[in-house]
Symmetry: D3
Subunit: 334 residues, 6 copies
């Protein structure tokens, strides 16, 4: 397979702090020799581990984007030993448009790994991450939120792999991050995620959902800011004494284990949820009802939970199509 | 000026409960003799006052839409004396698309009064409300929320008119409704609103913002459901004994008095607010900062409050354009 | 009101045959000094009455467009006494796009009379017809079909006015045209039609629907071709001997008298009609059913006729939205 | 190649009647964890053959969609021995939009076989059909019509394969179905069709075109309804006595043998056909003419037949682009 | 007629230099309380005349936009006596999108005067200019270029009015500006232009076209920069000694007197011009030819000049639609 | 890999002159059996070499399109010995829309080689060129221009390959063509270009940029017309005596050797260049500045040259996004 056509004037091996751009050639009517310019900051000081921090995998997930912009303003080479690579808006076209998927190619970056250097813009970005950035990194955080359509109780997360030693290192990093909840994805039918690619590259790779609804949640930003300090200290890139400890006590470890943790809208219409984030529910409980504003004399259509657990995620938008996830649950790790 | 071309098979003068549609002729390629079918319920029992309740003036404001769907399911002629006209999705094309303005003509219904029978769909709806529905009504509630872009502390509201007697009757209705906050719009540079038209028609006309962000807030729905019972009892349409009292003690009366209650984004970018709904602020305080994810090395741009007061409204979306309202305040009525 | 900005190099007063264009200034990004060029043929030979024939009022109605193109190829000055003005595609942007309404401004020309010289393109065209072309004409035919969404039994038509003498002259022309059915619009809630404007200008003005479905129906084209010869002969513009007589015996005179002649879809979905064009039906008969392909377990929703009559029009498209006209009737003139 | 991510709560192995949905994960801005919900009915009673019936391969082809909705309403487990799998709208996004190709990815499902589980929605559907549904089935009918752009004389059809035994079984099924015409596709340059994939899976696979123009033709629906009963009886799934026999005598067997059966528009414009469905024509006959409504003084441009045969298909829309098929022929099997 | 809803925090009466914004309320889904923020600079020093300079009337005309940005950077209160109001991008949405007309409402600002405070954004801007800015000004320059579709020999211009004294003052200002050509619009069928409104307000109002093609022409920018200095000196706002004199000798005075100065494309296709800017031509000369790349065997279609004169304007884009202006002429003032 | 589905009634082996079309099957809602009809002219006279000339690889590059249309009108079989295949608008959908990339699939043909017969339209075209047309040809010219976004000093060009003999033959052809500049692409990170595919097929393959800005430059058309005569004579297809010699003396040989020849916009805004085509510049010189018309008080942002050379290409459009190429250089071959 051919090499990435993405290029940059940033030198990953140079000490100091560089603010620059990844240039992704994008030849269109308005610019024959144009580039999508994805901002990139590299801060390096001598030898040491490399942390690769990114946000904006989905363009409408903002807590990580804000926290990384603030980190770029604040972090200096003399604060660290090793290297920190920061990309606050990795799917830049989506981030600038405030949408999940790229307006260039409708690409969902987190369904595009391991990417393709000759594919559309989103595939080319995934390929660069997988072939250039992941091989440079020791530790990785891909900061997500619920995006426009979902609201989450904030959590940091990891994905379980087949490699027990890697799982142990990731769990240790997850606890160090110190979010209120530490979530383990023990079920996932999709292999096109950044986290799958990172684990395949043997990275200690964290994720997390720190808010949602297409909004900037101040508490979510604070959880990320504190967690990143903890994580960099845990990795030995900043001094251990600069760690600030968990946001609110030790992380509550939870997991998602099957499709039955999810409830989907049974019809298109306007959904009124019957539960709030944090509620404990049981299989068979009413999850909510779909109302028909074009025909309000029609009886509303209810939907029900398929399993027991805590409501960790709710749909944000009032309008639903059949098949939209309206709520999903998590359960405590036994 | 000519008459409305909107027609209906519902008979406003017939006793009983009728679920039907306003038919707005809309002749387009996909339907030469098509209609926009706006659902309408009329419940009538003998003589008595008429309450006209509507939601979906902006399509992405849902608490009123849900509450009116539930009222249509629950309210029967024998419960009332007089007439209740309910339209849960008055700008139906916008409500079905989940957006503020009509996808048919980009019309903002609440900037289209007193309307035009030969204008585009949104103007034709405004004209029908103003010339057919308002003259039938004694009391009116146009139920709003913040919509996709704004989050509100929930309140019921009224608009101050030149007619002191009408103001007194409206204030009395506002208190009866019993929302946590009762807001008086003492400043408004725009005369194209439903509330202006309603006051011109001498109606006791309430409004209110019961949530926002394009979501369905359960507590907002409850405030509306309780308030509507209170209001119908106050109007003598249902028995006084069916009033349920204020949602949380007597309404706190607040007002908005000038443009200085509003803060606007100073630049395009990603906005991190420095305040939360309910915070008390002072002129000169930092309201928030705009970050630049395409160029994170650029210093963020702050904005400041222009007056003192309580944060009653925040922008929901993280992304801003210059000139977007990011926060507005209210102050207690002296 | 100001004058039309539409101009042409065709001279309406010159003898001979001129093929030219109406030029409607249309200043947009792709052409600062551009024009919508609407083709126009004027054939004149000495003194005599003026017939103004047009098609393409709705862009997706083709039988008249084809017949007028053929007439332009065939008709020469020496065939006539007087003047024939032919515009085969009056709403040219719609006709070129094959849609009912103008892609420029979404304008439905036949809902835009009497027009506006400073309005959007469609209003400017209506204004030119009403203030320049109608005053030149003695007799007018605006050739329609069902368009993309409707299928018609072919008929010529006239609109009843308050002026009995004009009605008599129009009825006489309608019979001369010789379509299988001669339809009288005795009910119409809309005053923005070309036929209303033409009657207001005291023109003998015919209409008609000669096919539909966005297709070119050969028999419809033939009815128009023969009818136009009959009409020009009736008007004395071509020799009486060139009339070819009715298409299929004397026209059956029918009329449309109220809203109850129409049936509208009760729900959105896929509509299976229970009747064919030409069927005689009675109030209460099943007109068809709406099926739900996204949820086929849901029972289909029927609709019923509101009056007695013959099915003269059916919806063409299978998909319906609530409020679409699915069938309408006509009844014989008593 | 990886497995399909499409999932369902329907159990293909369970006796009884289940109405459910195939859930195709589709993660977009309006729904991060959304699904395209494609309805699916499985009716099973003990052991026996499996018939897989589908429509909506192209969204704007409706006769099969209606007939399958009616079959879902009518068919019960006790009517059958074996299994019937029914999907009335397999490319649901296209069917709901009333268009040929999916509005999600512009995918033409019948040009997407054998599909791709990681591709866009349309490719993922093709892959699921090919890898999950086809292997379960013994007999298959993919019900088409002409769609928005073509009108057909109704026929059932089969595709010739290299396997004579399979051809014989398919011919037998074709005759049993009993449509007025039984067409054999003996020429086809495209291998991306459902019928090619079905034959590759060794299925007795029928197709057919039962109407067109984007309309619901009542006679076409009846041909399909009767034919499906005949086919299920032929397969031994319903009792032989429930077969209703051919729609109008034994099927006339016809075929399409080369590119010369097709005529294409020679220019863009408005096409008036010179022939009707069912006409017999000869090479060199005029097929129709293209008229220029933007320039009606320009001579119309004719096109001619390239072979002899019967007109079995005509373009429905009046407007053509150069290269559009305007007519195609079939000839009797010798 | 009601007042403008446009507001600003800039104080037109305050001495000093203020960079601020006109805020045009624009309430849409993405921002319920949003504003279009049009930048505005006011520089004032004591008493004296007011010059109102604007560009970006059409968004894709750039020489004036660049020159006014540079003037805003350079001009300080102590340089002037009186007041200079500068708006470099008056139709801001169009200027930011790089198109002629506003993407908000497709409005062509220079076809929207005298505007409407309750109309769409473009009409509201025109109304503000006409009712607020024009009454404040003594002298006005609205800086245009050819925009995306036209290339011009650069000129300054004025519009002839009925008021001889005003004409004389404008001619004097035109000469003072000192562009290579000074053009007098002696023919214009449109009354919706800024220049018409300005003359109606009795302003000394200049225009001009300083380049085109959607490009920034360096020489055009220089002509504007020098001309504005000359103009401000001529008005007595800056010292006479700061005038820099004409760009290239005294302006050559030319005029446009009738529709025959213009040539329009006779067909749609690819246009090869036969002339260059500055060429002298005669009625009947070939102006260019339209080629047909979709059918290159068809003979190209020529067009011809309708009058004598100098080529002052050429279409920039290669592709044409029938009716596009491809060239226009000017002639020397006798 | 499967064969192309593109077909044609043109016979490549037949003597004489044929104007026909490549038919690319394109099955969409508006035409189920439609084709993209790409015009093709084949002129053949006995044995001899084959020249394959094409333009419209990018739809908005016109000089080659015009020149090839003129060549098709002028060139006859008796003028040649061998064969000339001419396609003036190879990416026809883009050429008809006047844009760089295909409106059908957003495909950039010159980033799509070697293509895919089952891919979208643009990939299918690339595949046909590579597998059908290139193998027939001895010599090839793919005529480009700067397109909408770039302006070039006109040049012919070749791409350096690993094969010295092929390079020598190409250089000889380049000199024979006789453009003012002969450019050698010695640097290119992209392998998806037609020129790469042509070289892989061992063709003597020229390119070139003969104008730009989306305009038709008369001198560029002349350079191409003369050069093609020279080239056909050089190849022995027309008589050597019909060569017309270089356009303006021997070609100046220049080259592009690294990324440092290019300058990219450092910010989004309005770009004023500081240089003109043909200027000699040095590393560190100011290339131009970005102005901010939405915020003109903000200081403009400059950019600088990264190397020495001559300005051979400038961005045409005034508006830029960060990452757009604004200027690139060439240097003389040593």
């Amino acid at each position: 397979m051919s090499q990435s056509m993405i290029w940059t004037r940033v030198d990953y091996e140079k000490d100091g702090k560089q603010n620059g751009w990844l240039q992704l050639p994008h030849s269109v009517t308005r610019s024959a020799y144009g580039n999508v310019s994805i901002p990139l900051t590299v801060i390096k000081n001598g030898k040491g581990p490399t942390a690769f921090l990114m946000a904006g995998n989905h363009g409408d997930e903002y807590e990580g984007q804000v926290a990384l912009c603030k980190l770029i303003q604040a972090l200096e080479p003399h604060h660290i030993q090793g290297r920190v690579i920061i990309i606050p808006a990795i799917n830049l076209p989506a981030a600038m448009a405030g949408v999940r998927v790229s307006p260039i190619d409708q690409g969902n970056l987190n369904r595009s790994f391991p990417g393709d250097p000759n594919g559309t813009a989103t595939y080319a970005i995934a390929h660069y991450i997988d072939t250039v950035l992941y091989p440079m990194a020791d530790i990785h955080h891909d900061l997500h939120s619920g995006g426009s359509s979902l609201q989450y109780l904030p959590f940091a997360s990891m994905r379980q792999s087949q490699d027990a030693a890697l799982n142990a290192r990731a769990t240790s990093a997850l606890k160090a991050f110190g979010a209120p909840i530490g979530l383990i994805w023990a079920y996932s039918p999709d292999s096109r995620l950044s986290s799958v690619a990172a684990v395949n590259r043997n990275l200690v790779a964290l994720g997390g959902e720190f808010g949602g609804g297409g909004s900037v949640t101040s508490s979510g930003v604070r959880i990320v800011e504190q967690g990143l300090k903890n994580l960099l200290a845990h990795a030995g890139i900043i001094e251990a004494s600069r760690a600030v400890g968990p946001y609110a006590g030790p992380s509550r470890l939870m997991e998602i284990k099957s499709r039955d943790y999810y409830v989907y809208a049974p019809e298109a219409g306007l959904f009124e949820p019957a539960v709030e984030l944090g509620d404990m529910v049981r299989r068979g409980d009413v999850c909510g009802k779909v109302y028909f504003v074009d025909n309000p004399g029609r009886a509303p259509e209810p939907c029900y939970f398929e399993g027991d657990g805590m409501v960790i995620c709710k749909r944000h938008f009032g309008r639903v199509e059949r098949g939209d996830c309206v709520v999903h649950l998590a359960t405590d790790v036994a």
